[in-house]
């Protein structure tokens, strides 16, 4: 578990934007995987399988009332607000806007399916085969999905993220 916990946590964090939610989802993914371990084919790599479970749980979490209940509880009891890290006063905005954060914000403008393939391939650096396992599709599908997602990301950057123009200039 310790080998894979970082990857699961990071994928959940990328999809949900909240560390507490990501922690919950990663834990639940491990619990479900443990209970379903008999169904894992021998020889099948475990990491993409765990990431597939994590992605499913994160998708459900995004849609569920659970986040709303958690948010309400945090608001009422003055616990730290959820969401995205590195919130800073606007006066520091220029120097603190790291390009990686901008890139993540750009990716989050895309459709969920585009986000997921980019998170797996580019943020978590999975191979095409691993990403295909995690998404439950063929490797060729990952390639074409990545290509389309990158094209949409490029358009989003050109439209809304001037600070990332360097990424797409002459590319």
């Amino acid at each position: 578990m310790q080998t894979h916990q970082q990857a699961l946590f990071r994928l959940a964090f990328l999809m949900l934007g909240d560390a507490a939610d990501a922690d919950d989802v990663a834990q639940e993914a491990f619990v479900r995987a443990y209970r379903a371990i008999d169904r894992l084919d021998a020889g099948r790599p475990i990491k993409p399988w765990l990431l597939a479970i994590t992605a499913n749980l994160a998708r459900n979490r995004r849609r569920s009332l659970t986040r709303f209940a958690g948010m309400l509880k945090r608001l009422v009891f003055n616990e730290p607000a959820l969401v995205v890290p590195m919130e800073q006063p606007v006066v520091h905005l220029a120097e603190l806007r790291h390009r990686a954060d901008a890139l993540w914000r750009a990716v989050r403008q895309l459709r969920a399916a585009d986000q997921e393939v980019l998170y797996l391939r580019h943020f978590l650096a999975l191979s095409e085969a691993e990403a295909a396992e995690a998404l439950g599709v063929a490797a060729g599908t990952v390639k074409s999905r990545s290509s389309r997602a990158l094209a949409r990301l490029k358009a989003a950057i050109e439209r809304d993220f001037p600070e990332l123009r360097e990424l797409v200039d002459d590319a």
């Binding site: 578990m1 310790q2 916990q5 970082q6 946590f9 990071r10 934007g17 560390a19 990501a22 990663a26 834990q27 491990f30 619990v31 443990y34 995004r62 659970t66 209940a69 948010m71 309400l72 509880k73 608001l75 009422v76 607000a81 959820l82 969401v83 995205v84 890290p85 919130e87 800073q88 006063p89 606007v90 006066v91 520091h92 905005l93 603190l96 806007r97 790291h98 390009r99 990686a100 954060d101 890139l103 993540w104 914000r105 989050r108 403008q109 459709r111 580019h122 943020f123 990545s146 290509s147 990158l150 094209a151 490029k154 439209r159 809304d160 993220f161 990424l167 797409v168 002459d170 590319a171």
Partner: protein, 262 residues
């Protein structure tokens, strides 16, 4: 596009993203697994429902939070979880001049609480006007307001679109003077426990005036926008778009600004 080059650059940038530290997930999972027997999915679902009910009961038993549970109002796409509406505003932020004539914002020693970063979708007014599925009017009052200093556009599957316009306080660049949200259908915004709520109109369109500090959360799949100005909010609906004007103005002043949108 040279896809390979873009692909490589993106990979390099993505690799530098700062994640929160990974918690001890493995330890907690082992603790969970050794704590109890396996629950069936139906039982888990039932447990979730019960947990939410218990949460509601607990919240309603706490005096400070009971008011939160009393009433849910809806104006456009904004839900307001709030006490009973009060007939007249009893908290009025003083303003030296009416909005129509105010040339400079009222200085106040209180620092702005709402952080403006990180919002998704920073853009320009022109770009936002090109890509938004609705028109983006600007207030012509106060007379010195001009164009917004910050513009954000966020979308979720093209069906839920949020435009946020922010005018910074010229006397204090760390705080916002005024902000205007334009929320399309399919967005859900929630506001918790404002001190005063008054039903009103803007150019004959239904509106709500909310006073006091309160959390504001915008939900359109991802939660990205929070309250920007520590003050009061005028919310109204026109042609299917919900407008939120945050400012430190009074109701009359805010309504004049709202009615000046062109």
């Amino acid at each position: 596009m040279n896809e390979t080059r873009f692909d490589a650059r993106m990979r390099d940038h993505a690799a530098t993203l700062a994640y929160p530290p990974t918690p001890d997930i493995a330890g907690r999972v082992w603790a969970r697994l050794s704590a109890g027997p396996q629950r069936r999915p139906q039982r888990a679902l039932l447990a979730s429902v019960v947990a939410v009910l218990i949460l509601c009961l607990v919240l309603s038993a706490v005096p400070e939070t009971r008011a939160l549970m009393l009433r849910v109002l809806r104006i456009g796409v904004v839900q307001i979880v709030a006490p009973e509406p009060t007939p007249t505003p009893h908290v009025t932020v003083p303003s030296p001049r009416p909005a129509a004539a105010s040339a400079t914002p009222r200085p106040t020693p209180k620092p702005v609480q709402a952080a403006l970063f990180p919002f998704m979708g920073k853009t320009t007014l022109d770009a936002a006007r090109k890509s938004a599925p609705f028109s983006i009017p600007l207030p012509s009052l106060p007379a010195d307001l001009g164009q917004p200093d910050l513009v954000f556009i966020q979308r979720q599957f093209d069906e839920a679109v949020v435009v946020v316009l922010i005018w910074m306080d010229p006397s204090d660049t760390t705080r916002a003077r005024l902000s205007l949200h334009l929320l399309s259908k399919n967005v859900l915004a929630q506001k918790f426990a404002p001190r005063v709520i008054v039903k009103t109109t803007v150019d004959g369109h239904p509106g709500v005036w909310a006073e006091g500090e309160y959390p504001f959360v915008l939900r359109s799949g991802d939660i990205e926008v929070r309250r920007i100005v520590d003050g009061n909010t005028l919310i109204w609906v026109r042609d299917g778009i919900t407008y939120r004007l945050e400012s430190r103005m009074t109701l009359d002043e805010a309504r004049k600004v709202a009615e000046s949108l062109r």
